[in-house]
């Protein structure tokens, strides 16, 4: 799977970082970045939770 963020929607409020800090992070510029766009399948449940809970609906999982 691939995790993507739509920066036109993302407001870097970091809810996703709170849910899965191994996949998402806020860097010194205060912008949210995806650490690993192709995370291990074991992270799926957490990432799905982040997709659901992102208040801006900015995250998506693309199946490959």
């Amino acid at each position: 799977m691939k995790v993507t963020v739509d920066y036109d929607l993302c407001e870097s409020n970091a809810i996703c970082v709170g849910i899965d800090p191994e996949t998402f992070e806020i860097r010194d510029d205060d912008v949210m970045y995806i650490i690993d766009e192709h995370p291990d399948a074991s992270r799926r449940a957490k990432i799905e939770e982040a997709v659901r809970r992102c208040p801006k609906q900015a995250l998506a999982i693309i199946e490959e």
Partner: protein, 401 residues
């Protein structure tokens, strides 16, 4: 609950949709009915004072994803309000005269904008809670008003003031307290918001109440009379003086109503009945306090939690959360986690109030109880779980030392 069971969700918005989605995800295969007073499928409210009101987004961008998911399999009853409930028999009365007997009920009926006496139906005077409210206000803003007077400098009022300035409309912001958002953040942080709005050209009038409204010959609002004797001209008025839990229809239901629907710590109001979102009052073990929370994230989290409590009451745990919300005003993004009260200590640990970019920690009785960030999101989300763990104020300050 099996295939033949019926669960009704009253209120088709963020919290109700989160509960419905979670009921399905937890394996509920019975009939799911969503009853909504508004005629729309669930939509997102936060953009109503932001992207929708600036004109950046149209209403089709507001739909909450998930409402149209095929596996949600919902029997929609939109444009029909619930008018009564008998908790003992779990029977809901609807505005069209019909009744619905249920095995489970999710009360997700939210809150309504509080109004000021004498403002209902006066052309030009608005509140902002629903898509219809926002569309009516947007039309008035698009007609090129001379001046908008915003009554109440809470979040909705501050966001509307910012949106009007973004549209280059003259704005007066009025509040009886000394600074905007004083009740939420206290005087020092409130002063930052006063400064933020003044530098954007807002006429901020604090420490002054509203005495009444004048109308012109056609009956439309023309001035707001303030209790310091001044009367700013007003083509449009937006009243943002808070929200009231929608519980009047539950009178005589058998449920305990007390500024919200009083529930046990797991969101259960009565056997087979849970409450979620803005209308929920429950004892939050993190703060050992009975609370009602009016934030998007809470609507979502309580909706998912209560779905579990409804399907498996024997194993229902408490909803233990640290409230979290955001607000956008101009180019400032505000985020807050926690629960603070007047008299809490406050220390700015990063940035400064003057540059409108900072992190502030709030402490009470030696414990961290809140984190506020203005254009500093990282630390707010990082400390949120630490608040739940009970981190001391000293340890939280040490993170920034």
């Amino acid at each position: 609950m099996d295939d033949s069971a019926t669960i009704a969700v009253v209120g088709a918005s963020t919290a109700g949709l989160a509960a419905a989605g979670s009921l399905r995800a937890r394996g509920f295969t019975g009939r799911l009915v969503m009853i909504g007073e508004e005629r729309f499928r669930p939509y997102d409210r936060p953009p109503l004072s932001k992207q929708f009101l600036t004109g950046q987004w149209d209403s089709d961008r507001l739909a909450l994803p998930g409402a149209d998911a095929p596996d949600l399999d919902v029997d929609w009853r939109l444009g029909v309000g619930a008018t009564g409930l008998d908790a003992a028999s779990r029977t809901i009365g609807l505005a069209d005269g019909s009744e619905l007997r249920c095995d489970g009920i999710v009360l997700a009926c939210g809150a309504s904008a509080r109004r000021l006496p004498g403002t209902l139906g006066v052309p030009g005077i608005h509140v902002l809670r629903t898509l219809d409210d926002a569309a009516a206000l947007r039309r008035d803003l698009e007609s090129g008003p001379g001046r908008v007077v915003v009554v109440g400098a809470g979040f909705v009022g501050c966001e509307v003031a910012a949106t009007c300035r973004t549209r280059n409309i003259a704005v007066t912001l009025v509040d009886p307290l000394d600074v905007p958002l004083q009740r939420v953040f206290g005087a020092a942080v409130g002063a930052v918001f006063a400064d933020l709005h003044r530098s954007a050209g807002v006429d901020v009038r604090t420490g002054v109440g509203v005495a009444g409204f004048d109308t012109d010959a056609s009956g439309r609002v023309s001035r707001v009379r303030l209790d310091d004797g001044t009367a700013p001209e007003a083509t449009v008025v937006v009243v943002g003086v808070g929200a009231v839990a929608n519980t009047s229809w539950l009178e005589g239901s058998g449920l305990k109503i007390d500024d919200g629907i009083r529930c046990d710590p797991s969101c259960v109001a009565a056997p087979g009945i849970v409450a979620v979102g803005d209308v929920l009052r429950w004892q939050n073990p993190v703060f050992d306090e009975s609370m009602r929370v009016e934030h998007w994230d809470h609507a979502f989290a309580s909706g998912e939690h209560a779905a579990g409590s409804l399907l498996d009451p024997a194993n229902a745990g408490p909803l233990a959360t640290v409230p979290w919300f955001w607000s956008d005003q101009y180019d400032r993004k505000i985020q807050f986690a926690g629960r603070i009260a007047p008299g809490d200590d406050m220390v700015v640990v990063d940035g400064s109030l003057d540059e409108h970019r900072f992190v502030a920690l709030f402490g009470r009785a030696g414990r961290l109880v809140g984190v506020l960030g203005m254009n500093r999101p990282r630390h707010v989300i990082g400390l949120r779980p630490r608040i739940a763990e009970g981190i001391t104020f000293a340890d939280a300050l040490a993170v920034f030392a």
